[in-house]
């Protein structure tokens, strides 16, 4: 039976490709199911945790005194509130806290640590079974963040040592805190028993309040926040709502899920390209046979059906395998989720649907590609050699013209121009591989370069000194400023004061923005548009703030200044990824009570060691935080850089891996396709080495094209893509800083090496006597 023979031969012939297609589809289904599973787990766990913890809808942090009577009265009269509570938190300095028995304090930790009692009504702190943790005397509940970081277990010791106080506690539970779980939230709550709480309170005067509300209609949180502000209630600190908790909790795992799904899509594209290539190659090889079948009256549908059956089977098997493999993968990816958020009962249906989606897309693509069958005419098929290699020498330059090139190099290059469509696939894969490598590499270079500070809303200075909110903040600010003014080793410094201002929106609602005043000129910032405000009539906004407010350069924004509403002109817009991307700068008189923190930017005299100075100021003015520029960037971007490094490594492995695999596959098919041509050349005296050089030239030429295009697109489109992604974080116009040696020399060399070696290995099959010519 002729159909059966075609199928059998086709399977034997395309074993390599089918294996590759199978692998790509499997991987794609694996990642798609895994990503979907991750999303389902993430949101399932999040819902379960929020439910169990009875998360408040709105939380207002506050430092300073509270008029509880007034707050109670307001809350009682506000119909939006279902329940509310005020929790006191004791702020503990990091250097007083020792976790486990390492004997190292939390001195250097970026986390703000506080001690609290368990709540009775809502905003509960849960143990690892999602039950509210009720500590016994002498017990402490430690946030999961620290438990993960230091591998702490229930039963490990925790010591508090400050002034006279020395308190020994035992870990009674690891705590899930729906508000403050994620590492990007720099506040962490420890739970202790009433007894210990009272002791601590006597010794440590620093407290903070958490005023939390549960609303009757949770979706109206914005309205509620506006009403709260309008009422002039305590609000020295951040205001947060449930959506934000959700976002913060979902952020890092959400990004992982997005990347995984994106990767899956990418692999699917490659799988489909490979499929297209194999299908076209098989059609071409069977062209005559198909023509004969048509000529003897067999309908094209029948012929097509055997191909469809084959690819259907492969796609089905691969998707199923991918789904099965995704089960352990999801477990692995969701490990953090399970630890941080708990394990929900997940819907198993979604990952299955995701795998089915991959299957459907692959099959539909096959059907579209196979439509080509209809176009084969019996006569044309019987008369010609194939559909790919039409005509003869047309289009390419005559060999005679290609002076100065070796014959083999010339033949290799000519081949690229002659069979452009054929090599297009390979070129596209190279392009793709280069793109997915160069973009992260460029971005990595950019984010690790010192000039990245221009995306962080600050000018470039050698040192930064931060004074955080505390009772004595004003006093310490003055002392520090005097010290800086007198220090001969300081060449220049600027004092910057960040405070809260009330801003009116067009609809009459107001909101709080944080605004930096002070010496804005000394360490100038790179502005997207405009420049530093020059008068008290002007304001500069961060990109996200401007976008949120819908204002452009020259527009005005109304601000409450000295108790009076004042229209300020937007004189500059800058990029800032810190503090949620929402900051502002101006030359406004500030209210001492609403100051959030003070910062000094400092440059040192030539020859002064930054590290020494930093250490000196840190010890002289503790607890002021002194960081050099690198340290500041590292603390703010450290995790991002770490993740990016992972992404870059994965991209390099993936890009090179795909290039190598597809090159090998492609050449194998090409050799089969060109068997006639190759044996002719061998018979007239070309050695295997000569022929190998031709294909190597071709592969390298196609690679060069892919590299060129990939590089160009990375630097243009890639930059836009990264800017787009980061515009959500506050940096809308990122310019890549390029490490030319790495990006334009090492990387191409790596690619060229990989491709050359692959060609070499694949072509070693040629190493046998001619034979075929007969």
């Amino acid at each position: 039976m002729i159909l059966f023979r075609v199928l059998k031969r086709d399977l034997r012939r395309s074993r390599g490709t089918m294996a590759l297609v199978f692998a790509f589809v499997t991987l794609s289904a694996l990642l798609m199911s895994g990503g979907a599973g991750l999303v389902v787990t993430l949101f399932g766990a999040l819902d379960a945790l929020f439910e169990a913890a009875r998360v408040p809808d709105v939380v207002q942090m506050h430092t300073g005194d509270i008029d509880f009577n007034r707050l109670d009265r307001w809350a009682a009269s506000n119909p939006m509130i279902a329940a509310y509570r005020t929790d006191e938190m004791i702020t503990v300095d990091g250097e007083a806290l020792y976790l486990g028995d390492r004997g190292v304090s939390e001195d250097e930790s970026v986390m703000d640590i506080s001690f609290v009692r368990q709540s009775e009504t809502f905003d509960l702190l849960l143990d690892m079974e999602n039950r509210p943790f009720q500590p016994q005397p002498g017990m402490v509940g430690v946030p999961i963040f620290f438990a993960q970081r230091d591998d702490l277990q229930v039963g490990d010791p925790v010591t508090l040592r400050t002034g006279e106080l020395k308190m020994e506690l035992t870990i009674g539970a690891i705590i899930r805190d729906a508000l403050m779980n994620p590492s990007i939230v720099h506040s962490k709550r420890f739970v202790v028993h009433e007894d210990e709480y009272e002791t601590l309170r006597r010794e440590i005067p620093e407290t903070e309040y958490l005023i939390s509300f549960r609303l009757r209609e949770p979706e109206k949180s914005e309205e509620f926040i506006a009403a709260y502000e309008a009422a002039g209630l305590p609000k020295v600190g951040t205001t947060l709502d449930k959506n934000l908790f959700r976002t913060l909790n979902a952020l890092s795992d959400g990004i992982v899920a997005a990347v995984v799904i994106l990767l899956s899509a990418l692999l699917m594209v490659i799988a489909i390209l490979c499929l297209r290539f194999t299908i076209l190659a098989s059609i071409e090889e069977d062209y005559r046979e198909i023509g004969v079948m048509k000529a003897i009256g067999m309908p094209a549908r029948d012929i097509r059906r055997i191909y469809v059956a084959k690819y259907l089977a492969v796609a089905l098997l691969a998707s199923a395998a991918g789904y099965l493999l995704s089960l352990p993968l999801t477990g692995l990816l969701a490990r953090d989720i399970t630890v941080y958020l708990g394990s929900p009962e997940t819907g198993a249906l979604v990952p299955v649907a995701a795998a089915l989606l991959v299957f459907a897309i692959v099959v539909v693509s096959c059907l579209i590609i196979l439509r080509r069958f209809r176009r084969i005419s019996a006569v044309a098929a019987l008369r010609s050699q194939g559909i790919g290699e039409r005509g003869g020498a047309g289009g390419a330059p005559r060999l005679r013209r290609l002076k100065g090139l070796g014959v083999n190099v010339a033949l290799g290059l000519r081949d690229v121009t002659q069979r452009l469509r054929l090599y297009g696939l390979l070129g596209f894969i190279f392009f793709f591989a280069v793109f997915i490598i160069i973009v992260p590499v460029h971005f990595y270079t950019t984010i690790t370069s010192p000039s990245f500070v221009s995306y962080m809303g600050i000018g470039r200075s050698e040192l930064r000194i931060d004074l955080q909110q505390s009772e004595s903040m004003d006093e310490r600010f003055r002392v520090l400023e005097a010290a800086l003014a007198q220090d001969p080793e300081v060449s220049q410094y600027a004092a910057l004061i960040t405070s809260q201002f009330t801003l009116f929106r067009e609809n009459g609602e107001s909101e709080i923005i944080i605004l930096e005043t002070g010496d804005l000129d000394r360490f100038p910032l790179d502005y997207l548009q405009g420049g530093t405000p020059e008068t008290s009539e002007e304001i500069a906004l961060s990109y996200l703030n401007a976008k949120d407010l819908g204002v452009e350069l020259g527009d005005t924004v109304p601000l409450l200044v000295d108790g009076v509403r004042k229209d300020l002109t937007v004189g500059g817009i800058y990029q800032d990824i810190t503090k949620g991307g929402r900051t502002a700068k101006g030359r406004l008189p500030y209210d001492h009570d609403s100051v959030l923190w003070y910062t000094f930017a400092v440059d040192l005299a030539p020859g002064v060691a930054v590290a020494d100075k930093s250490r000196e100021y840190a010890s002289r003015f503790a607890p002021a935080r002194v960081t050099d520029l690198a340290g500041y960037m590292d603390q703010t971007l450290g995790t991002t850089i770490g993740q990016l490094q992972m992404v870059t490594i994965v991209a390099i492995v993936l890009g090179l891996g795909i290039s190598v695999l597809v090159t090998a596959l492609f050449l194998q098919m090409l050799i089969r396709k060109d068997a006639g041509r190759i044996s002719i050349m061998q018979s007239i005296g070309f050695s295997v080495r000569h022929i190998r050089r031709q294909y190597q030239t071709t592969a390298i030429a196609v690679l060069a094209l892919g590299l060129l295009l990939g590089t160009i697109f990375s630097n243009t489109l890639g930059e836009k893509l990264v800017s787009f992604l980061w515009s959500f974080m506050g940096a809308a116009r990122i310019h890549f800083v390029v490490a030319p040696v790495k990006a334009y020399f090492v990387l191409p060399l790596l690619f060229a090496g990989a491709v050359a070696v692959t060609t070499r290995i694949t072509m070693s099959k040629l190493n046998r006597p001619v034979g075929g010519i007969k």
Partner: protein
């Protein structure tokens, strides 16, 4: 006089599958002298093509030895064999085997360029001269899909001659041509032979064989007989006479 090409007890077996081998050549001893024009005849499947490909080093013999000039072919490596074929041998085939992606001129130039023994200028001049001599100069820049079989076989001959080889091997070069085109190709080959190039060709055609100096007869993988005819003198009468002699001889050998 030393032979240009000489095989000694040449044996060739093909592996059919894991357990079976088929022997195709049995102890073949051939001597080809410089300037000779030799044809090999024999029934289909008798091993003529196999002999030819073993003599030129495209195929590897199973045992025995092939001596070409001062090369012992079985001792040469693949690149060395390729070099010998490129510089010192020429080939013409029934299916011609030109490269489809090159123009006619480029097909002829290719082995010349690859060889690099002469500057490109000289190769190009020689190619033009060859195309002129074979009467296809006007087709030089055409694609090979735009020429007739007889014309393409001339291209094949030009390509075989471009590096001025010592010997040309032909596997039924006239097999696919009609008698007129076939006669023209034989004319051309005879002329090439007269200028000093040795030729060894496989043929089924008595008329083709009758124009060669010596005819070898193969049967079942063995060289069973040979007939010396000597060079052709000009004149058609003699040609018919040679054909008759040859036909007779073949009959005697039950072919």
């Amino acid at each position: 006089m030393n032979a240009l090409l000489k095989s000694t007890n040449l044996n060739k077996s093909y592996r059919i599958d894991a357990n079976n081998e088929q022997q195709v050549l049995f102890d073949v001893n051939v001597q080809v002298h410089r300037g000779e024009f030799i044809s090999v005849m024999g029934p289909s499947g008798s091993g003529k093509s196999t002999l030819l490909y073993n003599l030129c080093g495209m195929d590897r013999r199973s045992s025995g030895s092939v001596q070409f000039k001062d090369h012992t072919l079985e001792t040469l490596s693949e690149p060395q064999l390729a070099r010998v074929r490129l510089d010192e041998m020429g080939f013409v085939f029934q299916q011609i085997h030109l490269l489809r992606n090159l123009s006619i001129m480029d097909n002829v130039l290719l082995p010349g360029y690859l060889s690099k023994r002469c500057p490109r200028r000289l190769i190009e001049e020689r190619a033009e001269e060859l195309l002129n001599r074979t009467g296809i100069a006007s087709l030089a820049d055409r694609s090979i899909t735009q020429a007739s079989g007889g014309q393409l076989q001339r291209v094949g001959i030009c390509r075989a001659l471009i590096n001025e080889p010592d010997i040309i091997f032909g596997d039924e070069p006239t097999g696919a041509l009609n008698s007129k085109a076939s006669a023209e190709i034989m004319e051309l080959l005879t002329e090439v032979n007269r200028t000093g190039t040795t030729i060894l060709l496989v043929t089924h055609d008595v008329r083709v064989a009758s124009r060669t100096h010596r005819v070898l007869l193969m049967k079942d993988g063995r060289l069973v007989s040979e007939k010396a005819l000597g060079p052709v003198a000009d004149g058609s009468e003699e040609v018919t006479e040679r054909e008759a002699v040859l036909a007779n001889w073949l009959q005697e050998n039950e072919v």
